[in-house]
């Protein structure tokens, strides 16, 4: 039996997937979730092999939820209207179902999944997330996992980002949070008029800079309102000057 999960905030949207699933006795619907938090918990507890996922949901959206899952299962998106998302899926998702969809279309998606599943193709969910995280809503906030808790950080609360091996340290007023991403990912995803790669290992939020001091020869240091000091390389200084209009 393959375990299946439906995550959608609209009860009727869940029930139509449930109805279509009745054609597949080999697929066992183990849970229905109404938001990303429930979904996350269910994925970790039940380890489904396929999830039907809506994008626009309370608190955290479908993409953000997936980012927090270790070993994400195969995903079929169900969404009403999201031009950007459609572009992103075309590359990486198993399939995306545009609401409203009929049984035939649903069957096609299941067939696609079965085919990939039988060939033991590893779900390309990581690739998907890389593209999806460039969606507009994710320029506004960053979702991280802090122990068992989920933390949503609005981007304007971020002081600066620091590279730390495979992780990026996100420094905020409440201390720092770790996220398993690369610096170049954040450099791309965040608004470049606000976040500047001041140094190979640092991205700084210019709204928190209070002054830039010279530091040793050729180098500078950005002093933040919070008192933090962020190293600025020669190239980074040029970028900062450009964005700050100096």
């Amino acid at each position: 039996m393959n375990k299946v999960l439906i995550i959608d905030d609209e009860p009727l949207a869940r029930s139509i997937v449930k109805e279509y699933l009745q054609q597949y006795p080999e697929l066992d619907l183990v849970a229905e979730c109404g938001d990303g938090f429930e979904g996350l918990k269910a994925i970790q507890q039940l380890q489904p092999s396929l999830i039907f996922l809506d994008i626009q949901m309370p608190k955290i959206n479908g993409f953000e939820m997936l980012e927090l899952v270790d070993n994400a299962p195969a995903v079929i998106f169900t969404t009403a209207f999201d031009e950007f998302a459609i572009k992103a899926f075309e590359a990486h998702a198993i399939d995306y179902l545009l609401k409203p969809f009929n049984q035939e279309r649903f069957d096609k998606a299941i067939a696609k999944w079965k085919e990939q599943h039988s060939r033991q193709v590893v779900a390309k969910t990581d690739d998907l997330l890389e593209t999806a995280s460039l969606s507009p809503s994710q320029n506004q906030r960053v979702v991280v996992k802090n122990g068992s808790k989920i933390k949503i950080i609005p981007v304007h609360d971020i002081y600066y980002l620091e590279a730390a091996d495979d992780y990026v340290k996100i420094h905020t007023s409440e201390g720092y949070f770790l996220k398993n991403k690369t610096m170049s990912h954040f450099e791309q995803a965040l608004d470049q008029q606000q976040f500047v790669r001041a140094h190979r290992s640092y991205i700084v939020n210019i709204q928190h800079i209070t002054r830039i001091d010279p530091y040793e020869k050729d180098n500078h240091v950005a002093v933040l309102r919070s008192g933090h000091k962020v190293p600025v390389s020669r190239g980074g200084y040029g970028k900062l000057k450009l964005v700050l209009g100096l």
Partner: protein, 351 residues
């Protein structure tokens, strides 16, 4: 452009009176210098009709070809040239038209004075014409600009509405699709509600005014559909006093505000969301408040004045030229959007 036509007529009248005065003055002056009444009148009519023709020529040229700043020299030269031609023709005609012993000598002596007066009249007229036509040109371009702005505005509003609808529409269709399988009666009801709602959107013009009662009925359709979509997560509480229900407001104004509240409320909190709508009459104004819960920890302030509210703000500004009619307040985990509709006398109310 009736106003501008009227101005043109008024301009023509003033122009003709001035010209008659000039002619009378000219004749009187010559009479005072000792010419007979007949000679004075002939001299005046011939000179001034010719001058009028020269002036009309200049004005017409300027009318179709408004000179730029660096072309004023050309206009000046044209005036001098025309004055000389005018003086020469006038002299030739007058010598033939009027006999007398003293007249030719008088004519010759007065040529310089005639020339300078003619030049002055022509110069002043030219200046007035340049100012007049420049002003008209400016008015026209302003009109064009405001026309273009209005079109852009309409297109913008249309686009905003179109962008807001599809999500709602497709999700509703998806709900109907689900209901067909499990509760066909409800599906039928929802199809009806959705149709009525869409018909309302298409039928109503942005500029039309409706009573709050009508607008609330329309809003109720929207809320009913959303309630089917979100099930027991969405609850609404509507409080209206009788007085306010008869007041008028621009059509389709409330739906984006409520849509914003629902999105904000439903997507920012988990569990049941109560959207509260209160309407009342305060100081002769219609005041409508929409409240939704939110989570101060996770919502960025930008979401508060989101997409939908911006278009409402813009519409209110276009209708009333005021930007203080829409206000938002976040307090105790409740986000409140308040709209004030001023009681406009005449105009919109009548339509």
């Amino acid at each position: 452009m009736p106003a501008s036509l009227f101005s043109v007529r008024r301009f023509t009248v003033i122009f003709s009176i001035s010209w008659l005065l000039l002619m009378a003055d000219h004749a009187a002056l010559l009479y005072w210098f000792g010419l007979s009444v007949q000679d004075a009148v002939i001299d005046s009519v011939v000179s001034n009709v010719l001058l009028l023709m020269a002036c009309l020529l200049v004005m017409n040229t300027i009318r179709y070809y408004v000179p730029g700043i660096n072309q004023y020299m050309n206009v000046f030269c044209m005036c001098i040239l025309l004055t000389i031609v005018w003086v020469v023709i006038t002299k030739w005609l007058l010598s033939g038209a009027i006999d007398g012993d003293t007249y030719p000598a008088f004519l010759r002596k007065s040529l310089v004075i005639r020339g300078s007066i003619g030049f002055l009249v022509m110069g002043i007229l030219t200046m007035v014409a340049i100012i007049w036509f420049n002003w008209q040109e400016q008015q026209k371009s302003e009109e064009r600009k405001s026309d273009a702005e209005r079109l852009a505005r309409e297109a913008e509003l249309f686009k905003l509405r179109q962008q807001l609808q599809p999500h709602f529409l497709f999700n509703s269709l998806n709900s109907i699709n689900a209901l067909i399988g499990i509760r066909p009666q409800e599906a039928r009801k929802m199809v009806q509600q959705l149709s009525d709602f869409l018909r309302g959107t298409i039928k109503k013009e942005e500029t039309q005014w409706v009573t709050l009662k009508e607008e609330m009925a329309y809003l109720q359709l929207y809320l009913d559909i959303e309630k089917v979509r979100f099930g027991n997560r969405l609850d609404t509480l509507i409080e209206s006093d009788e007085e306010s229900l008869e007041m008028k407001l621009p059509a389709l104004l409330l739906q984006p505000i409520v849509e914003n509240a629902i999105k904000f409320g439903l997507y920012d909190t988990i569990g049941a969301t109560v959207i509260r709508i209160t309407t009342s009459k305060q100081d002769g104004q219609l005041v409508i408040s929409v409240c939704n819960p939110y989570d101060p920890e996770t919502s960025t302030p930008r979401q508060g004045t989101g997409f939908g509210l911006k278009s409402v703000q813009r519409r209110l500004y276009l209708l009333f030229a005021r930007s203080d009619l829409l206000s938002t307040e976040a307090k105790n985990d409740i986000f409140t959007t308040t709209v004030r509709i001023p009681d406009l006398p005449g105009g919109h109310r009548l339509s």
